[in-house]
Symmetry: C2
Amino acid sequence: MEPEFSAAAHELVDWIANYIRTVDQYPVRARTAPGDIARAMAAHAPANGEPLEVILRDAREKLLPGITHWQHPGFLGYFGITASTPGILAEMLAAALNVNGMIWATSPAATELEQVVMRWLAEVLGIGDAWFGQITDTASTSTLLALAAARDADPSIDARGRGLAGRADLPALRVYCSEFAHSSVDKAVMTLGIGHQNLVKIPVDQRFRLRPDALASAIAADRAAGYRPIAIVATVGTTSVASIDPVNAIADIAEREKLWLHVDASYAGAAAIAPEFRWVLDGVMRVDSLVVNPHKWMAVPVGCSALWVRHAESLRRAFTLVPEYLRTSAGDVLDYHDVGFQLGRPFRALKLWMVMRAYGVNGLAGIIRKHCALAKQFAAWVRAGDGWEASAPVELSLVCFRYAPKGMSPAEADAANTRILETVNKGGHALLSHTKLNDRVVLRLAIGNFRTEEQHIHTAWADLQAAARGET
Amino acid sequence: MEPEFSAAAHELVDWIANYIRTVDQYPVRARTAPGDIARAMAAHAPANGEPLEVILRDAREKLLPGITHWQHPGFLGYFGITASTPGILAEMLAAALNVNGMIWATSPAATELEQVVMRWLAEVLGIGDAWFGQITDTASTSTLLALAAARDADPSIDARGRGLAGRADLPALRVYCSEFAHSSVDKAVMTLGIGHQNLVKIPVDQRFRLRPDALASAIAADRAAGYRPIAIVATVGTTSVASIDPVNAIADIAEREKLWLHVDASYAGAAAIAPEFRWVLDGVMRVDSLVVNPHKWMAVPVGCSALWVRHAESLRRAFTLVPEYLRTSAGDVLDYHDVGFQLGRPFRALKLWMVMRAYGVNGLAGIIRKHCALAKQFAAWVRAGDGWEASAPVELSLVCFRYAPKGMSPAEADAANTRILETVNKGGHALLSHTKLNDRVVLRLAIGNFRTEEQHIHTAWADLQAAARGET
């Protein structure tokens, strides 16, 4: 009855091995037009089962053209990610075991390995051991959980129990972050009923870092106006520009004002694995919660987001609820469903454990170091390039830059950069993305894939220059 | 630098093939004591990389004892799930491609295949095509999204923008569900700032179904008391007892009261694949949102939760927010991040597509049919058993039952059933779970694993009887 596994799986392993080896021969960005893939699919589910070989062939022939190859070493947009070999193996094993680690008893190994690797990772990042860690699917979820804990930290608020509406005792709550914070912070306050209008975006300095003085003023003004500040989000490595908010100065304010301080280090936190970049997490020992995404710069397949809070209790206060059917006689154990809103929990610790072991701390640090050096190299080319300029300091592995030759108006340069980006991405050797800095279009080259080498950023640079010259 | 994939992967495929074949030889429930697995792990991440073979050997030798084998055909607790062979293959391929389908452009195939399979599934379930579908990680997330849409359906509430606190114009919001609804509903109202006290639990009838008359009264009383009712959650297949709320009668009330109606059919919805069970979704054509979990009764590996709403717009109203760095020139395409709070999106559609094709509609229906027949069979044994009783009607593949011989007080019977459960689960052939019905301890035997056959429930029944007789 069940389709036979071995033959198809061995064939797929060979295909995957070849894919990893040859992924640089695909165009990075999918070239299909909207609707092409949908039209290539059958209109209805089949009445009867089809052979695995046929399905896998369809995946290769009909779906692959619609894949943007995040594994291509020329993928330099957003933040790069890597399906490392230990990561793929871990996902294979996790899929076969297919456990749901919702409570300790439904797989002690899932719960305990998660605790172990979260301790490993905290140690490797140099943030100490006074944390409670868990792995979620995305930084969006991690930040949502952290801000839920922040919201419910003050028992007089009791959003969890009483809700926020219809209460004469409760003014509007306020959360603070820089104008460069990630959209997941906006979505968290929207989801939690705090409201987007109550997320106060603090201006940044010339290096795109949250300005503590402006933060302090905003909090003071809000208190005077009758709002209830509850939390601050600092970003270590903003999405647009990888700027690093001054966590220590922000922590001074958070401590004085008794506000929860959450640090979003989804991308840049991993840099702290390399001792010379440990400074990116300066001050994090003082904060209440921290998110770092191993599925970004640590070669763990999506999704694997590491969330730490000081005490499990802060998350339990917001989320604990144990229905009868989940009670067990296992005694004093950690049931992870109790510290979040998602009951189902795939065995995500496995891939983090396998990747950390397969690369080792030195292996991971070496790649991060290499990526940062490549970014410096690329930025040097840009600065030396005719008509090109770096648009922001290169803190880590992200370069923000722009084509703006003399005599071109800022608006003309915006249009030129938009055109250059599209030309390069269409070309297929590299994929870059963009953002806006000081209201001007800026290109982003982000190095994060473990297979990216100098040749790939060199090709990207050649393509960028050709596009600027009007070649396609 | 990167660990070589092929040799380790082929070896792992052989191990997985053998695991699937022989999983019934493991004890279902892990026998490790709290802390055993953690102690078996290294205290620190290794400085240098280790060979994949060593890591995989450790996984087999040190982690496997801490695995509760959800793939064991004797896994009859909670709701059973299956790592089917097409499901495992899909996870292998998804891990290797490792795309993030946050927007259409970052892999058109991920977005378009998701739209295609969600249409397939809606058709197969017989719920029509007037839906917008998406796949999330868990039913918890799906229900959270649905209730966020419900909360923001009335523009005068604008929880998303203005938040719920500090508003003189806004009374407490209210949501309604049966006292047998899943804890994910509780967690959703807690998370969304609606508040747990504002989730009104409606009493059930003798078949554990939400009582529409009690619902209507509760809504009327709340309106009279100044609350603002916003949504009702009906459950098709409750976790404790698989009871099926009368969706049509509830939809009458929702329409009259202009309330959002969400249906949680996470477990039981899949039954509608078999024509004779299509009645479980009666009335669903009238509701606003619906969740069915293919990772439960459809042999798709965790996590794969299917959420439908009438219009993408209802989710966009709650969640849309497009930062500059996610804007593309792709034109009029669906960017899935825009209809939820999670930015990261693994390629989950792949496994649903591969499983539906590999089994076909008839294959899936056949297994659901078999599971329901096995449940009837087991219930017949229980009813004929000396001192045993069925505790609820068997609607689908879940049997609730209890050992309560004449002369035993209810409290004594509770203790006996708790002991029987622990004895059976310790035995290793089967894993059952429990719940409480009418305040009495009741055992749950839930059939959902595609590899479960009559022999496995027969063994479970033999073990239960032996445990009741005091044998261990």
